[in-house]
Amino acid sequence: MALSDNEIIEQIRRGDKRRYSHLVEKYKDRAFCLAFRLLKNREEAEEATEDAFIRAYNALERFQNRASFGTWLYRIIYNVCLTRLNSKKGGLKSLEYDEGKDYDEYPLTSQSSLYEKIEINDMVGFVHKIIGEMPERYQVILSLFYFQELSYQEICEIMELPLGTVKTHLFRARAMLQERLNRELKMENAS
């Protein structure tokens, strides 16, 4: 039977360092995905992910089971990436989060009829491309919610943002994605 993260951490604390490879294997791709969304560069994202795993290992003694290991690790990665972005001139501009509470300034238009006409693989390709072109703050929130499968509350903990701000930005990210996807699908249908 597979051990839980907390059981693995307990074994590492008792001296079985090799067990850490289980945690690395389990989280490496999702962690990298988050770093890549923030840093937009493969090599740099991989370095940041590696640094984050080392930091997490060194801080394992201080890890308390209040949050899951995954959430805790993503928070470390988020901070490592922010530090890297901060060291670049103007790097943090695109990651500023406002307090915005107004959902209704962003229309959520559904074009389900368009979805029917396009192959699912093509749509996945469009979405992949559109996400890559979105502002980092939206990419990060989408990544945490959809790829890391975290709850609103866990995202709040990682990004140290109020719940309302996380919900609003997630909503805006989806509205923007949907709007751009609709535009792409219309163009595809027209051609």
Binding site: R18, D29, R30, Y57, D104, S110, M123, F147, K167, A175
Partner: protein
Amino acid sequence: MNHLRNEELQEFADGFYDEQIRAQIELHLRTCTDCRARVEGLAKLRDIIRRVPAERVSYSFTNRVMRRIGVRESSSFLWFLLKNIAPIIGLFIVVGIVYVALTFTGIVDTSGIGQSDGTINTIYDKFSGELTTATSAFNGWLKRIFPFLYSKTSYSLIAVLVVIIIAALLDKYLLIPIFRRRG
């Protein structure tokens, strides 16, 4: 009930409402095509996003992290083979298929195969015959090269042990460092 607000739509689609509120919203969705379309749009978007291929770290990532925390990979060449057993078996299957294909196309000599036999029996007879011949040849070769292995004396046991020790030393000091360098 008025149309659902965007905030309500999002939380409903994400499954964060309790059962009572969900029931109220579901009731509304039964009669409101506009809200239903918006919820369906969000669900569809979620399905598409989840299909987006995840970015992956390079193959040697875990080894690099483990090395940085001071853990050396201890896996032997045998473990390397076991880890890659699927591709190895796959290779055997591919070779088998190619062999059968070559046999049927006549590129490989098929004169020994009886025409009247069923296809499965033919392949089986041919394969088992080849295997028996190969095993006998290998056995004969071993007997010639390492006669002591067949002498039933204590030397054979010692020889086997020596071979295992040499293989283990080669594994530890030659093969593992090579694979470690390759990541």
